[in-house]
Amino acid sequence: MTDTILALKDVALTLAGNAGMVEILRGVTLNIARGETVGLVGPSGSGKSSLLMLMGGLERATSGEITALGADLTAMNEDALARFRRGNMGVVFQSFHLIPTMTALENVALPMELAGVGDAFTRAEVELRTVGLAARMQHFPRQLSGGEQQRVALARAAAPRPAILLADEPTGNLDGANGAAIMDLLFGLRDQHEATLVLVTHAPELAARCDRVVRLADGRIAGEGMV
């Protein structure tokens, strides 16, 4: 029997758009096991990113149940979700979303500071060395290249040792070489910390590196399979 870390049951997401209510996700049911690597693929607008955001508690489901590490995310308010993410989840975005007024080191230390970790900066330094940015710790995001910024974002997501890593097209804004390096790092960190990784991607070669691929179309799971 597998140990389920993320469970979605009949989840729907409907949002208000310019032309009225739009159904983004319709009745998604999905279980992800601890340590598993899952790729979410599908055409644009199929609901991949929205599904990932629901898993991270960054979005609120219209209906259905979402359980992460045994906790019911749908029963939590914004602040409870924020507190839950501390130490349990790391999120990597396509657009990096580093805080522009903080150095690379401060960006990485921040989630641990929020979680009240005493040696946040020591651990952030270690993490930045791991992603190859030992020389860039005191640099601000605007002084870093796109690839370097995404490495900082990876370090920031991985530093608190979260059980779940969520990545939303982490190579979408990078060239091929940088993209490949980032993916190596991401999978390396996942292996190192034995985290569960859920990855949204358009790239078949990235999906191919996952244990399982879930295909979405029109807000529903259109198929899935082991790689």
């Binding site: 949002l15 955001m53 960054l58 602040d79 501390r86 975005f93 805080i99 007024t101 920031r156």
Partner: protein, 839 residues
């Protein structure tokens, strides 16, 4: 722990610098500076008055009497308690130069000891005793420079007071106790009292005041001395004052006008608050991604709120600090000019209390205006990172309570600092009401503009349609402009409406309702001849005359009058008292009965009805009045209507003839005459009766108007600070709109619009907004003006169009200046670059 972390994050956030906070800092600094500046000047005057108490009073303490000199017992007591006593006599009189040059003057008769403290400054710089010494039997005199110039006198010239000739020895530049005179109708002349002996001006029954200044030995407790003197002589009409509060009238006036101006300054701070709020909103808008990222990383709403609250606190501290520096520095720089233009001693320095007051107002206002956006942006959801969009929902209940608490704190502070609950609440209510009206007007304008943009008449007028579309569009420009400019303009409009209405009320009512002259000190043997001269003059339409004495109400039904009447103004000093055997034609009795003709029983008094009602007096009550040191107890047997507002003759008390006719007294007369008849009338009467003093009502009203103008000017200056702050907010709004205007101009250029047409559209937009702000200000100013004229001044109100037009033009000009100043960049930018950058 959370707060420490929030502080760390806030510190990192502020590395971006203060570039986005120029408007925030300027608005706050200007508002605080205006309040601190007014407070510093007020404190400087108050300290000046207190420090110079003995000099202002002319001694350590003073005992004053009305229409009499101190008797032997009083003199003996004064000599016993002091090291030196100086006697002053003070009265109004006419100066006559040659045959026909006349002017009203306030005469001060002194003895050889004056001044006990301070110095009299003369031009030429003579010692005072030398200036006043007789030369060839003619006593010397010094006279205020204004009066010297008005009468065309030069040193050595002769002039007459009553029937005594004096020689002008010098011009009076400064009398140390000058601020004590209060509201004087004529400039000062100083002579020796001994020189007045044969002037005929100090006869029994004439109106004069005496003051005995005491130089006290060291270690005397003033309060104990006051109690002793009052216990002995209060019932004899003695007034006590001492250096603890030498100029209570001036102090009260400065305190009140200072409080009022500070509250006007507070409205400027409210205008600044609009700018502060806009700046914080714009800043937080740019931080949506950061806030969402922080949420993604596990930050709770409370942490986010703390992070940005701390930043606002630091910025507020900086803005308030800058404001305090300006507010403390500018009065110090302007000290020589302020000192020269005030009749009070001013002690400039750094006073902590006004700075504390300004800082309190600044900080609380900053939080009142920023709490709302802070609370809303703390609720930005993490989903904003990938879905866009900003704030979610309304702030929680605790933020509502916090906001209410801050407003209550602001109001409580205003009540404590201003010392007047009515003044604070009415000003705060006025500002709040104005803000609400302005906000509603802005909403209405946006809606109207949105509709008007679709009207047929606008089709083909592209610039106008674009302007209307922009005003009615989703940007907050209309709200910002109307709130910021409207409040300052509203205060100015109110001042303008009240000022011009007061002036026109005076000029409208003066010829029909007020007399031309008051004549005082007409002796009993002069009154018949005086009236005969007026009777034959065709230019004289009406004459009223009455016996005039002055008295202090000391007891009401045997109780202390002050305590029994709630310290009503009627018992706070001496009042005019008249007598009459029969009921005069103009006396309208509203309750009780006038005494029968020839009545010779116990004293009866007819009291002014309105004042009696305020004092809680009833028919049958007894009042004790001290007249010339003698106590007269009279029963109130009637109340009558007295109108004090027409400048005609009005006595609070009229007694039966037998009660007073034996006392020494003079007559007062009001004469209603055509303006052309005034000069010959004055010449004849003053020539025949040199001791009589004529007060021209027009001159007296001119003095009142001057005082009102000074208050209006001070208020306009304080409102000017609001307007300047409003202009800064306008500039901030215009600067914030540059990006969207660039985009708009680029698209319009792509579609074929010329730069002239785009500029016209921008100008129309500014002009429309300015006109709207001005129009709302006129309505608000008109309403406030009407309320003040109708309910406070109890006069008629008429809309004053000139001041209103100035307000609208100012509004248009200010918005055009701010709007067009930021049009150059959008007009000159290449469309391709702008549009590419937006992709």
């Amino acid at each position: 722990m959370t707060l420490a972390l929030a502080a760390r994050i806030a510190r990192r956030e502020m590395r971006g610098g203060l570039a986005g906070f120029r408007v925030f800092l300027t608005c706050l600094a200007l508002g605080v500076a205006a309040i601190a500046g007014v407070g510093m000047v007020r404190a400087a005057i108050e300290v000046g008055l207190r420090d110079q108490g003995a000099v202002l009073l002319g001694g350590d303490a003073e005992m004053g009497f009305t229409a009499r000199f101190a008797d032997d017992a009083e003199r003996a007591m004064m000599a016993g308690m002091s090291a030196q006593v100086s006697e002053i006599v003070d009265f109004r009189s006419m100066v006559l130069v040659g045959e026909d040059r006349r002017a009203l003057t306030q005469v001060k008769g002194i003895d050889g000891f004056y001044p006990l403290t301070g110095d009299v400054v003369l031009d030429p710089a003579l010692p005072l005793d030398q200036a006043l010494a007789p030369v060839d039997g003619i006593p010397g005199a010094v006279m205020d420079r204004v009066l010297v110039d008005r009468l065309g006198l030069k040193t050595g010239d002769l002039f007459t007071l009553g029937v005594q000739r004096f020689r002008l020895a010098a011009a009076l530049l400064r009398e140390p106790d000058g601020a004590m005179g209060g509201f004087a109708l004529g400039p000062r002349t100083i002579v020796l009292t001994s020189g007045l002996a044969r002037s005929g001006l100090l006869e029994a029954g004439t109106q004069f005041e005496t003051a005995y200044r005491l130089a006290l030995p060291g270690g005397v407790v003033l309060s104990a001395l006051q109690s002793k003197a009052e216990a002995a002589f209060r019932d004899k009409g003695m007034r006590w004052s001492d250096s603890r509060q030498a100029a209570p009238g001036a102090e009260r006036f400065v305190d009140r006008i200072g409080s009022f101006l500070i509250l006007v300054g507070l409205s400027g701070l409210a205008v600044g608050g609009v700018g502060v709020s806009a700046a914080v909103r714009a800043y937080l808008e740019s931080k949506v991604a950061t806030i969402a990222t922080l949420k993604t990383l596990g930050a709770a709403g409370a942490t986010i709120f703390q992070v940005y609250l701390l930043q606002v606190a630091v910025l507020s501290g900086l803005g308030v600090g800058l404001g305090l520096l300006m507010g403390a520095g500018v009065p110090l720089l302007a000290a020589p000019w302020i000192e020269a233009s005030l009749p009070f001693p001013v002690a400039f320095g750094l006073y902590p209390l006004p700075l504390l007051e300004a800082a309190f107002y600044g900080i609380v206002t900053a939080f009142v205006f920023t709490l709302w956006p802070l609370a809303r942006f703390a609720q930005v959801r993490a989903a904003a990172l990938y879905r866009g969009g900003g704030h979610a929902g309304w702030p929680g209940l605790r933020h509502w309570f916090a906001l209410a608490g801050l407003i209550v704190a602001l109001l409580a502070g205003a009540i404590v600092f201003s010392g007047s609950m009515m003044l604070a609440i009415s000003t705060a209510g006025g500002v709040l009401a104005a803000l609400v009206v302005l906000a509603l007007a802005a909403l209405a304008l946006r809606r109207l503009a949105r509709r008007a943009a679709q009207w047929g008449v606008v089709r083909g007028r592209t610039a106008l349609r674009l302007a209307l579309g922009a005003i009615g569009g989703p940007r907050e420009e209309a709200m910002s402009v109307i709130l910021s400019l409207g409040l300052g303009l509203s205060v100015l409009a109110t001042v303008g409406q009240i000022d011009s209405n007061l002036r026109s009320a005076i000029s409208r009512d003066l010829p029909t309702r007020a007399p031309s002259y008051f004549f005082v000190d007409i002796q009993q043997d002069q009154i018949d001849g005086f009236l005969a001269r007026l009777k034959d003059d065709p230019g004289v339409s009406k004459v009223e005359s009455a016996p005039m004495l002055r008295g202090i109400i000391t007891l009401i039904n045997g109780q202390d009058a002050g305590a029994a009447s709630g310290n009503h103004w009627v018992v706070q000093g001496d009042r005019g008292v008249t007598y009459s055997d029969s009921q005069p034609d103009n006396a309208k009795v509203v309750a009780g009965q006038w005494w029968p003709e020839g009545y010779s029983g116990p004293a009866q008094v007819s009291f002014a009805a309105e004042e009696a009602s305020e004092m809680g007096l009833q028919l049958g009550d007894s009042i004790t009045v001290n007249i010339l040191g003698r106590e007269i107890e009279a029963t109130i047997t009637s109340f009558r209507e007295v109108n004090f507002s027409t400048a005609g003759m009005g006595f609070v008390m009229s007694m039966n003839a037998n009660a007073l006719s034996g006392a020494p007294h003079s007559f007062i007369s009001t004469v209603y005459a055509a303006e052309t008849a005034e000069a010959p009338l004055l010449r004849d009467l003053a020539g025949a009766y040199p001791n009589i003093t004529a007060i021209r009502v027009r001159d007296a009203i001119d003095r009142v108007t001057e005082a009102l103008t000074a208050i209006a000017t001070a208020t306009a200056w304080a409102a000017g600070a609001s307007l300047l702050t409003g202009f800064v907010v306008l500039i901030g709004a215009a600067a914030a709109g540059v990006r969207s205007r660039m985009q708009e101009a680029a698209v319009l250029k792509v579609l074929g619009a010329t730069r002239a047409r785009i500029l016209l559209s921008f100008a129309l937009r500014s002009a429309l907004l300015g006109t709207a702000a001005g129009a709302v200000a006129i309505v608000a100013g008109g309403l406030a003006g009407w309320a003040v004229m109708r309910f406070v001044m109890e006069s008629d109100y008429a809309f004053e169009p000139v001041s209103a037009l100035v307000i609208v033009v100012s509004g248009v000009f200010a918005t055009l200046l701010a709007g067009l100043g930021f049009s150059w960049q959008p007009l000159s930018a290449r469309p391709a670059r702008v549009l590419r950058a937006d992709e």
